[in-house]
Symmetry: C3
Subunit: 255 residues, 3 copies
């Protein structure tokens, strides 16, 4: 059974190791995979993006443990959500919304039964004390209903793209390791001819692959996460344009 | 059998991969888990802290391979230590002391038998050539006594906290990924009312969880490793206070 | 079956996770090991160095998936290469050359059969769409010949060392996590007495292990990858000398 971990814990401390130790203590056969632990601290939207971009590539029944949890220790709920194909363990803070919007039906449970938590539960590290134990027990076949009552989960809709005077107001939703700017413009939505404007720069070339561009040239490309990206061949578009996540991009159709 | 790795090797080179390859060549069924490879170079105390903070969360019989080893190639011994529940492979440089102080009885062996080393042994990479092979063989059931003679190990006591004129002289012993300052004040030791002074700043609020604080507010919190931490909600206390590991904190009880 | 991953993808995004998900979806029993994902972006030579330095430490039949791929989506081929002991999946861009030069005989195949690719194949992420599926299928026993036709592979020879007026013109080929400078001078090639000159500094001490040096002292050491390194005890030679990869070192025999 695959247990996939997604956190903002970094890898320099004992945090991730403690979670893995807890899971393996409950289920020595768990197959633990790191999605990433380098989500920017407390950045729920970034975690949601990364999860959505890759969860469907995992085997059916994978258990995702997603801990970006600025509300740890507060009243926010710890939850398990089961979709048709996967299980998710996370704080109830919107991290799972993009995934759940793609699910026709899902069931959610709150985790309240101390029996399925670590013997000592801290107020600051539920990754180790609540989420990892829940994942461990799920991976051995414990029913999520054992953890606590079924609950209704409110899933926020993704806002409809804003269009003003025929101009689509887009955003940079992620900047990847290479400095490519991932936008919220879906690959299908991009007009055949277009201008993308950001940071007083206009991009109107769409390439099929990176090596089509000249070195240093800015261009658009249909990205592997389903969204249009702004890129520089063998360079960082983020550095070149001094753009950060959340920054605005104006999309103009062009004939 | 879980084999857990803790080093200062970073993850950009061939170092960690070579260790894993060696272990899997000896025991294809070993379950290798990374504790961390981002211990600051040569920082034995930091490795000792991280190990102590998480080893008890691992399954019984886990083999920990701990390589922070500025003396590699010199006369310092390579050792295996067995406690009631775990096995440790490491250089004999104090890295295991905090763990061994919590053990009622342990046995230590030096690793001298070439039969259990890599066919070529370098002077600079015993992680690959001595420690990983030892862990691999331990994980297949080889008795530690086969590696070399049993030895006496001198374990240094942790110094008693220094108190001057009723003021406890504490230290920052770790700074985590979020910039939280982990002190050497154990959670139980903190007076009900207190002042913590460092960097010309005084902290006297103790919160149960992070989200109780206002954004940007400095506060103390009982940490998940058993020690009091100084934190900033959704920010870095280390950046805010310009504090580094080893820096002094004065603890004053307060009525 | 061990599947070892070597990329320049970093670990902050969904890239590595997607590859692992794809592999495990094909072969739930695959044992996935990270070599590193921190190869500098597009740096094929650096990937080649790391791979060569550790692949022989892995168990026989390990499948290495090596994706540093500036030409992704272009005409460059995706290939599988089988040596006597290992299998490699990679873009055909020279990354495997140093390994293949050490192989007496190898067979290469291009990957063209869509049946063994991800259902959707992007132009920007063949790690997920072509290389990971190929590795997954290889690990279940699919013959590489099923992926596409056998091909001839041109392997570039490593250039003969340049010697001018009895002076060997060497290079820094890698800088490791500790700041040690790995040169292209093989351990066997170093004269008994020598001067190494770089950055207006001369190094003539050869030590057997790091702790022989004084703190801060520059020295040469026979490195664990088979090449001479320039090092500083408990410090970074790269920082001290302001040297970068590719920089020149003059080797003078000395009596």
């Amino acid at each position: 059974m695959v247990v996939a971990l997604l956190t903002d814990f970094g890898t320099q401390d004992y945090f991730v190791a403690a979670m893995k130790g807890v899971i393996l203590s409950i289920n020595p056969d768990a197959k633990i995979i790191d999605v990433t632990h380098e989500i920017p601290p407390q950045d729920i939207a970034s975690a949601a993006f990364v999860l959505k971009a890759c969860y469907r590539d995992f085997p059916r029944d994978t258990i995702f443990v997603c801990v970006v949890d600025p509300g740890v220790g507060s009243e926010r709920r710890a939850i398990v959500v089961e979709t048709e194909d996967y299980k998710f363990v996370a704080p109830d803070n919107g991290l799972l919304d993009p995934v759940l919007l793609k699910s026709d039906s899902f069931k959610a449970f709150s985790i309240t039964n101390r029996k399925y938590m670590r013997s000592e539960v801290s107020n600051t590290f539920h990754g180790r004390d609540i989420f990892a134990p829940a994942a461990g027990h799920l991976s051995t076949g414990v029913d999520a209903a054992e953890f606590g009552g079924q609950i209704n989960l409110t899933v926020k809709n993704i806002p409809t793209p804003v269009t003003i005077n025929g101009q689509r107001d887009a955003r940079v939703i992620h900047i990847d390791h290479f400095g490519n700017l991932v936008t919220d413009i879906s690959n299908n939505e991009l007009p055949d001819r277009f201008e993308l404007e950001m940071s007083a720069t206009t991009v109107s070339n769409l390439y099929d692959f990176f090596a089509q561009a000249d070195l240093g040239e800015l261009f658009a490309i249909k990205g592997s996460s389903g969204y249009v990206e702004i890129a520089v061949r063998e360079g960082s578009a983020a550095d070149k344009l001094k753009v950060k996540r959340g920054d605005r991009i104006v999309v103009r159709p062009h004939e």
